[in-house]
């Protein structure tokens, strides 16, 4: 699948921002005043920035508002609703904390739940697709949620729980890669089922429909960079897990905590790039590719 920068940025940064909002929402002793303002500003900048960036890949962004209508069947529509619900609820919660030094915990909990629900709906946009076997698993949702909460913990300065969540997220990432490599084969879809010609003999794509490229090949049969996938996986894992864990174990949590966070975000960006670049859509079979 084509790794569109707008989608990579959206899912990484909004996941991080919503993770931060989640922790602020469930915090029994949430910050107030200007400290709260700073925290919420960062959370909103990331979450809203990510959401806005996601509209850049639309063919007709001016009609984006229509995406709220089909929540009964569409995960993309549900994501839109959850995001608005999370941002509005957390907005009121933040407003009371910043300007009135008042914590309405129930609002925080509801906002936190919607923040996680938004990350979950984002993950389901990918996990629901049978056509992309690598994505079509509950592990995808688990990975997105773990990365969001772990990143949020780092961003909100929670060192101990952040360390644990980093390890959980790293483990899920490794498991997702390991099982993902076998999932296309397990899906049972191959050129035989795609063409229905397998009972005659061995099927081989002989001639594509056209000599040039097309939308399908650009969007769903993106093969550039797969050859470095193993190296990039190691780089991603070192940046998002190993380096942050080592940095967090050092003293002076403010400086090293910031470095850990930057390293983690860089790692998640690499991992998210691979999430798309490595994903094979079954339509590639018709073109004799994966």
């Amino acid at each position: 699948m084509h790794p569109a920068p707008s989608i990579i940025a959206f899912s990484t940064f909004s996941g991080l921002g919503l993770g931060l909002l989640f922790w602020l929402g469930i915090d029994a002793t949430a910050p107030t005043g200007w400290v709260a303002f700073a925290f919420f500003a960062i959370g909103y900048a990331l979450a809203v920035g990510g959401l806005i960036s996601s509209t850049f890949h639309l063919g007709r962004p001016e009609r984006a508002i229509k995406a709220f209508t089909q929540w009964q069947t569409s995960w993309l529509s549900r994501e839109a609703w959850c995001a608005v619900a999370a941002l509005v609820t957390m907005g009121i919660y933040a407003f009371l904390l910043v300007f009135f030094d008042t914590q309405v915990s129930i609002l925080g909990w509801i906002g936190a739940a919607f923040a996680l629900a938004t990350v979950y709906t984002t993950s389901m946009i990918y996990a629901q697709l049978k056509t992309v076997p690598r994505w079509n698993t509950v592990l995808t949702s688990a990975l997105f949620l773990a990365l969001s909460i772990a990143g949020g913990a780092l961003l909100s300065g929670r060192v101990t729980i952040g360390l644990i969540l980093l390890l959980v997220a790293g483990g899920l990432q490794a498991l997702w890669w390991k099982t993902g490599d076998a999932r296309f084969k397990q899906s049972g879809t191959d050129l035989n089922t795609a063409t229905g010609l397998g009972n005659i003999g061995e099927v081989r794509a002989f001639e594509p429909p056209h000599t040039g490229t097309n939308y399908l090949l650009n969007e769903m049969v993106y093969t550039v960079g797969r050859r470095h996938a193993q190296k990039l996986r190691m780089i991603a894992l070192v940046l998002m897990l190993v380096l942050p864990v080592l940095l967090l174990l050092l003293p002076y949590p403010h400086i090293f905590g910031l470095l850990a966070l930057i390293s983690h975000i860089a790692g998640v960006l690499v991992s998210r790039w691979l999430f798309f670049a490595e994903a094979e859509h079954v339509v590639g079979l018709y073109y004799g590719m994966r």
Binding site: M1, H57, L58, G59, R60, P61, R63, A64, K66, A67, F68, T69, Q70, Q72, T73, S74, W75, L76, S77, A80, I125, Q128, L129, K130, T131, V132, S187, G188, T189, L191, T193, A194, T195, G196, L197, N199, I200, G201, E202, V203, R204, A205, F206, E207, P208, P209, H210, G212, T213, N214, Y215, L216, E219, M220, H281, V282, V283, Y286, Y287
Partner: protein, 249 residues
């Protein structure tokens, strides 16, 4: 509305005969021709006369080589367009309700005025039947020529999809696959029509007729042949000596 209808009154669709398709791509051209100037936005091309041409097509013809265990390889031309699935995954993922499946005839359509061009429906389709038009920014797909098949301004023989009307080898058939007595349903029953990627659970309406078994050339044709003396004999004389000598070297 992106909820799929529980059932449709009719299941209009295509039956494509892989045995008779000659791979001429006439259906591709007629499809592009009709659909670029009728229903919805035109099917644009990018850099059509340049070094790297590409464009939006609703129907494309692949070719596959199938190598049986015995005998020569077979070349099979394989036209592919929207299969108007009963459980169309492209419809339910649409966030805006632009994609829908019609209750009256089961045709899957895109209301282009509602399409935001997010591309999720194209991701959800296993067959590559949907293409986002680069110029218009909206999703394009086969409409089963909805603007021909009910069009009373056209002569009756033209009230079929453009690809069916144009096919010179009669490899494309159009009709109601929900009616077991229709010509297309009978054709499917007779020839063992099949679904593409049945394991994806999309329940495609369009069916493909597999190629008929080929004749075998290696079987004995003339019953008298074994009784006749072989025409080719071993060379004698000088040529015989040369043959043997060269063999020994």
């Amino acid at each position: 509305m992106t909820q799929l209808p529980e059932k449709t009154d009719r299941k209009m669709g295509l039956v494509i005969d892989l045995d008779t398709c000659v791979g001429c791509h006439a259906c591709v051209v007629s499809c592009k021709g009709w659909n670029t100037e009728n229903y919805g936005a035109p099917l644009s091309d990018q850099d059509p006369y340049g070094a790297d041409p590409s464009g939006t097509f609703l129907n494309r013809v692949h070719s596959y080589e199938v190598q049986p265990e015995n005998g020569p390889a077979q070349l099979i031309h394989f036209p592919k367009s929207c299969l108007h699935c009963e459980d169309a995954p492209c419809v339910t993922v649409c966030p805006t309700g632009a994609s829908y499946k019609r209750t009256e005839d089961g045709i899957v359509l895109v209301n282009e005025k509602d399409c935001i061009g997010c591309g999720l429906c194209a991701w959800a389709c296993p067959y590559g039947a949907r293409e986002l038009d680069k110029a218009e920014g909206v999703m394009k797909k086969c409409t089963l020529c909805v603007d021909r098949i009910y069009n009373e301004n056209l002569p009756e023989e033209d009230r079929v999809p453009a690809c069916v009307r144009t096919c010179p080898s009669n490899a494309r058939h159009f009709g109601d696959l929900g009616d077991p007595d229709s010509e297309v349903s009978q054709l499917v029953a007779e020839r063992g029509g099949m679904d593409l990627m049945p394991e994806q659970g999309t329940k495609p309406v369009n069916k493909y007729l597999p190629p008929r078994p080929k004749d075998r050339l290696n079987e004995e044709i003339d019953i008298l042949a074994p009784l006749l003396a072989p025409v080719v004999e071993e060379p004698k004389g000088f040529l015989g000596w040369l043959d043997k000598t060269l063999e020994k070297l």
